[in-house]
Every structure is written in structure tokens, then in C-alpha cells.
Symmetry: C2
Subunit: 242 residues, 2 copies
DNA sequence: ATAATTTTTTGATACAGGTCAATGCATAAG
DNA sequence: CTTATGCATTGACCTGTATCAAAAAATTAT
């Protein structure tokens, strides 16, 4: 895990004392005394898969750093149609900054652990140290790029390409080994149900399932049991992303 | 126009001297001497509809405030499929902050005028005045919300709903009269071609055209000539957005 | 004006992905 | 072990949107 975190926070490899994880975009900017101050207000919270962290249009009361697991941001229409608009991985900060209300629902996609802090505690720090704001801006710009990149997938790719894109995204976010150049026999557990995957890709669960089967029979992936995926050759998977 | 600009920058109604427009998220944070300093480096540039402002993977060399007109951000796949990932209106700031390269193509959707400044000039100011960074973070967070909101449209709405959403978006961004509560007989010129609209909605031009026809025969919109649209009742259009 | 070109609309047909229904396959509970 | 329960897969069929083709309308050039 450490290897991957460095990617996001290479300049200042300071650990957050309360969390033992580098907050992407936050802790690197904190001075030792600020870190200590913040750690008084943080607490670890576990959420089982599926549990809601904060609801759409509810008040924002806290920010959290993801310790491990995957968080999904989504929006539901009145008639029940749902779209997952983003996935967030450790050590992202979640919670809509500077807004009274949430614009989306945040849920634990897998079992997760958060490092939670009150809204006011972080905002107080930000006021005092503009460097934090810079890190937040960088994370937000990166998220915006990722969201727009995903819009290309949603708007213009086929079901087969969408599913390949999703698997590629997970493969390159969940397991840090790939960064070292180990691109063969990458194995990981899918942190999402078929329903969540469908809602992320703008498809139905049946279509997702059929595309998984197609990738399996084509030898691009191996599915041992349910959500356990092995990608023998990541480059071949990438070719399918369109 | 002034009315709408206040919406985005109500706290500090200072004008940017070089541009005569309030830079959403920027000028409000500038002190008089900074404003003067920046205005030395800015220049007005006109672009006809369709002209590229900056290309995908090209170096970022400048930032611009949109003076008037609509800018589209898009991405093209190798095989020619294209997705518009965002529209920007006056007085947004465009240009990917803190990145060497662009991740998307920026083009004039309509005839536009920009107020351009060199990358270094704005970045120098930001280093000196953290308040600017705060404004930028607010704009970026708002853009991220808008992008995610659009992902719901792309992933889960029907062609009919998508076209209604698009018209609603334009109606509420192009013409400032609606903000005063004048929701009847809203008239405006579409700043995008059918091809651009299709690429924004993840549809084909034929489907977009058919949905326009449907809205016209249903009395939701009136099309006098080509791109001249009249919405007699904005609430009725909104109902079609799903 | 008239012609040339581009953009938009309309029609006929095809197919990707959705819908509905049933079956399989885990893990958990009795 | 058997039964329940919740995911995931598979099959048969249907529909919304894409595709292909052509006409109409708008714009630009001559």
C-alpha cells in the first residue's frame, strides 16, 4: 500500500498520526502541531458494505479520510434509476467542502474504515494554513479530470468497453503491485456488486454479467469464485477499453 | 448580464479593469494593485465558432476568462467517437490549473471572446494571495458537482430526457432574464450545432433532431428558424428532464 | 439572384442492450 | 445435512436508439 500512496503525496511523506495513513492532499500540508491538533478530533469508524455514510441533500457535518475500502458516490432519480458518479479509494478525503448540503449520497461499496473529523475542525485548520487549500484544490482538479474521463466512457463506449474500463480502473486502483511493473496475473477481489457496477456503467446487471462472461471465455479475465478476478495480462484488458 | 454575474460573485462586486467582467472566482479575490498588475498581461482574443482554443495533451500556456459565448471541453477516441465533457459560460476561468498538459480539447462552441493571461502571471498572483486559490477551489468544486450531475444524465436518462435536460441547461445559463422570475417565453439562440449537442448527450444527431421535433409538436418549445428557440413555459420543459 | 455547401430533418431498417423469467450457486441459518 | 436468502448467470424476446439513405432547409459563395 505504501508504494501507491507515495504516488499521490511524494513531496511530503509525513504520516497522519491519528490514522497511520497519508491523507492524499491533506496531511502532507499539515505542520506537526496541526497534525497533533487535528488528531484530537479524529476517530476511526467502520462501515459494512452497503451502509450509507451521508445522504443526498443532508447537511455536511464531517469530512473523512478513507483508510481502506471503496466508497461510492451516487444519485437516485425519483423513479429509482440510479447512477454511481464516482468511486473513491484510500486515502482520499470525502465530504463536499464548503457546502451546507451534500449533492450526492456516499455509501460504503465494500467494508470500509474511515478516519472521521468534524467539519469545523478541518475548516479551522484550512483558514490558518493555505497550503492545505492548495492540496485540496489539486485533489479536486484530479477528481474533475477523472469525472470527465468517465463521461467519455458513459456517453460513447459500448457495454463491452465499459466493463473492460471498469475492470481496468479497479485493477489499477485496488492492487498496488501493478505500479512496480508487475502486469501479469494481477489478482484482486471486486469491491462492488454487479448492481453497483451496472449503476456505475449505466447498464443493467444482466448486461454486465454477460460482458464478464464474454471476457472470461475470451481469456482476458479468470473468475475463480464470484468476485475474485485474475487478469493474466493487463495490456490485453486495456486494449478492450476502446 | 450583470444580474447573473452577481449570483456567482455577490460578496465582492469588483470589476476586472482589463475585462469589464467579473471573473467568477478570480477578480473578487484580487486587491486593486493585483488587478492592475494582472491587467498588464491580459489581452482580448476573439474566436469564431468551432475554432480550437487548446488541444488535448498540448501544453497549458495560458488561462482565460470567458467574456461571452460558450466554450466546449471534449475528448475524441482514436476511432473518431467524441464526447463533450463540459460546457463553460462567461465569466468562467478556463485552462487546467497546475498541470503541464491539457487533458481535454477546448473549443469555441459559439463565437466567443476570451480575456487571456499567461500561465505564469496568474500563478504568481496565486502564490502571493491565497484568497484566489479559495475562489478557484470553489469554482472547481462547483464544476465537479456539475460534471457528476451530468453523469446521471449520460448514464441513466432516455434520449428524450437528455435533450430536455440540455435545453434546460442552456435556457438557464444563456439568458439571464429567467433569474428575475421571468419564466415565460424565454427566447434564446442555441450556441451549439446538432453535432455538438449529440456529442454532449452521447446520442446521434438524428436522435437529437427527432427529439427536438417531438418537443416542438408537443408544444414544449418553438423553433422559429434553425437554432432560435422559444420556451413558452420553462416549468413544463423541466418536467421532461426526468 | 442563383448555385454550392452545410446543416437539419425525416424515413426505413438493424441491432445493442433492456426487460422479463428462470436457473444456478454461494454463504448463512436451522 | 437441508432449507432459506441473496447474488450472479443464462435464455428468449422486445424496444430504443443507431445506422444508412435521402430530402429539405438554411447558410455561404458566386
Amino acid at each position: 500500500m505504501e508504494e501507491r500512496l507515495d504516488v499521490h503525496n511524494s513531496s511530503i511523506p509525513k504520516l497522519c498520526r491519528s490514522c497511520e495513513v497519508r491523507h492524499r492532499g491533506i496531511c502532507g500540508a499539515l505542520k506537526p502541531e496541526e497534525l497533533l491538533e487535528l488528531s484530537k478530533y479524529t476517530r476511526r469508524v467502520d462501515y459494512p458494505a452497503g451502509k450509507e455514510i451521508s445522504g443526498d441533500s443532508e447537511d455536511v457535518v464531517s469530512y473523512s479520510t478513507i483508510m481502506h475500502g471503496v466508497v461510492k458516490l451516487s444519485k437516485m432519480l425519483e423513479d429509482g434509476r440510479q447512477q454511481v458518479v464516482g468511486l473513491q479509494f484510500a486515502p482520499d478525503l470525502i465530504g463536499r467542502m464548503f457546502s451546507i448540503k451534500n449533492h450526492f449520497t456516499a455509501e460504503a461499496a465494500s467494508n470500509i474504515q474511515l478516519c472521521k473529523m468534524p467539519k469545523a475542525a478541518l475548516e479551522r485548520l484550512i483558514k490558518k494554513n493555505p497550503e492545505i487549500e492548495h492540496k485540496l484544490l489539486e485533489q479536486t482538479l484530479r477528481e474533475l479530470d477523472e469525472a470527465r474521463e468517465w463521461m467519455v466512457t458513459l456517453g460513447r463506449k459500448t457495454a463491452a468497453e465499459k466493463v473492460a474500463c471498469f475492470l481496468y480502473l479497479i485493477a489499477t486502483h485496488i492492487d498496488p503491485t501493478y505500479i512496480d511493473g508487475n502486469l501479469e496475473n494481477l489478482t484482486f477481489e471486486l469491491p462492488l456488486t454487479r448492481a453497483d457496477i451496472a449503476d456505475f456503467l449505466g447498464l443493467t446487471i444482466e448486461t454486465v454479467s454477460r460482458q464478464f462472461t464474454k471476457l472470461r471465455t475470451d481469456g482476458i479475465i479468470e473468475i475463480s469464485v464470484g468476485r475474485n478476478i485474475c487478469v493474466p495480462d493487463l495490456a490485453k484488458l486495456k486494449e478492450r477499453c476502446g
